[in-house]
Amino acid sequence: MSQFYTSTDHFTIIPAVMLALFGCAILLFDFLIFPDPRQRKYLLIFVALAEGFTGFALYRQTEWLMVNGQTSLTGFGGSVTVDGFGIFFNWIFVIAALIVSVVSYRYLEISGEHHGEYYGLILFAQSGMYFLATGTDLITLFIGLELMALTFYVMVGFLRTDKRSNEAAMKYLLLGAFSSGFLVYGFSLMYGMAGSTKLAAVAEAIRERPLWDPVVFLALATTSVGLLFKISAAPFHMWAPDAYEGAPTTVTAYLAVASKAASIAFLLRIFMGPFLSAKEVWEPILSVVAVLTMTVGNLAAINQTNIKRLLAYSSISHAGYMLLGLVAGNETGLKGIAVYVMVYTFMNLGAFLVVVALRRQNIIGEDLDDIAGLMQKSPGYAVLMLIFLLSLAGIPPTAGFLGKYYIFLALIQTGHFTLAVVATLYVAVAIYYYFKIVRSMFARESTEKAPLATSAGLRLALGVSGVLTLAIGLYPEPFLRMAQTSLLR
């Protein structure tokens, strides 16, 4: 460690640097030159620039890996590792952040809380996610996680005068900090075993220990509490419905998509890294957790009348499916998780965007009644919502099917037939509650006449999500190749 900030180091973190810089720029400019709230939407330019530079940096990183024929590039003495896996997940964060920012201004204006800080927070959270996806050091991962989580606590409570938002933020923070405590306790044990905070060293130390080593198990158990909490797996899912419901819908979308994707990346880094050699230990545990998660998510969703809450439970059940990919743990399973995360991004964002459009002056627009008769009112939105819901359920030819397809295939390949049967049957359960929304949209009459709150950004974002949800389903080849790159690490 003679030289402590080389150009290689810089190269490995440049996307996060871009995000943080533009985040600061937004805070500054909002303060200096946008006194008129209506002009704040021009801050979107900064977001777009930030994402543009981030994307470009990611592209350059990919190119570097290709040109040099390497699978990964480490920086800061092994604290971060840029590899196909990290880049893949970061593209998802870029897309999610862009889409969420673009739809936010109208929503926040209607809610009366349109502040420039919001866009800054989006970017800061994303820079945290960057390190969750690329970090290979316990400390870096921990700080990345906290950066993301802390930002989300604030964003969930962003509607400061709305009690539901306050409460959601409070609950999310209490439970989130609690679970982080357990996570970092597990991290401390991992450090204790290895004497180093680098994942590679920890992996080495764990590999040398016997399979059922008590310390490994304790570290695994406590770390899992934190990790499973972040992806909202049962029994650590209680925060999700509340946080999803209370948060501004745009934040809910960001939370459901980007935060979950980042947490999954984090989970994979830990479980396929240090704990890989203890797979025999965690595989049965995670199977139980996955089944429990799907059960809780799917069964609790059935009785929901609030769309956001329903989608929250559905996203819990999706976490269960992703965990199944990890249980299978083979190449198909891991690729399946990548594909799942990718398709989940578009379809879940899309579904939440429709809910965003339902929020109008004096109408909260989250109930099943609020979406009633949408087919007559705005057929385009209704059809798009239908596509997103079908995709969430996993009906071909929508994108969601591919995610499930890989998970099922991976389970069959590794001989987990029972899990596969359970997982498939929950598809039918899921269709039941997704179609409660569909039924409301298509078969019922509208309860009010107020038109949807759309904006150019919302229409654009919805269009993109819709087209991609269908396109991935109909012609997945390029997207599957992209997901393939996530296996490089």
Binding site: K163, K171, G181
Partner: protein, 102 residues
Amino acid sequence: MHPITTVHYLALSAALLLIGTVGVLTRRNIVIILMSIELILNAVNINLITFSRIWHNMDGQIFAIFVITDAVAEAAVGLGILIALFRNKETVLADEIDLLKW
């Protein structure tokens, strides 16, 4: 008297972790829940320092610094949210927050 070993420290830290957990899970007062979380983070720090000592390296102590920093940040945001909540709702009891189902 036995010499103090690593296990003593680990046991102490585990006890502190559990005390914190009990606090989080049973108390109704949000401020006290936040304090309990501080206890958990301190348990972690005891672990880290002990291991740092054993391994003769500074990584654990540095980790502990970051944990403390994170505790500061979490407390600041948590108390901020608490104030916003109190302003709207006039309560600091966790299970009175019942607009959303717990």
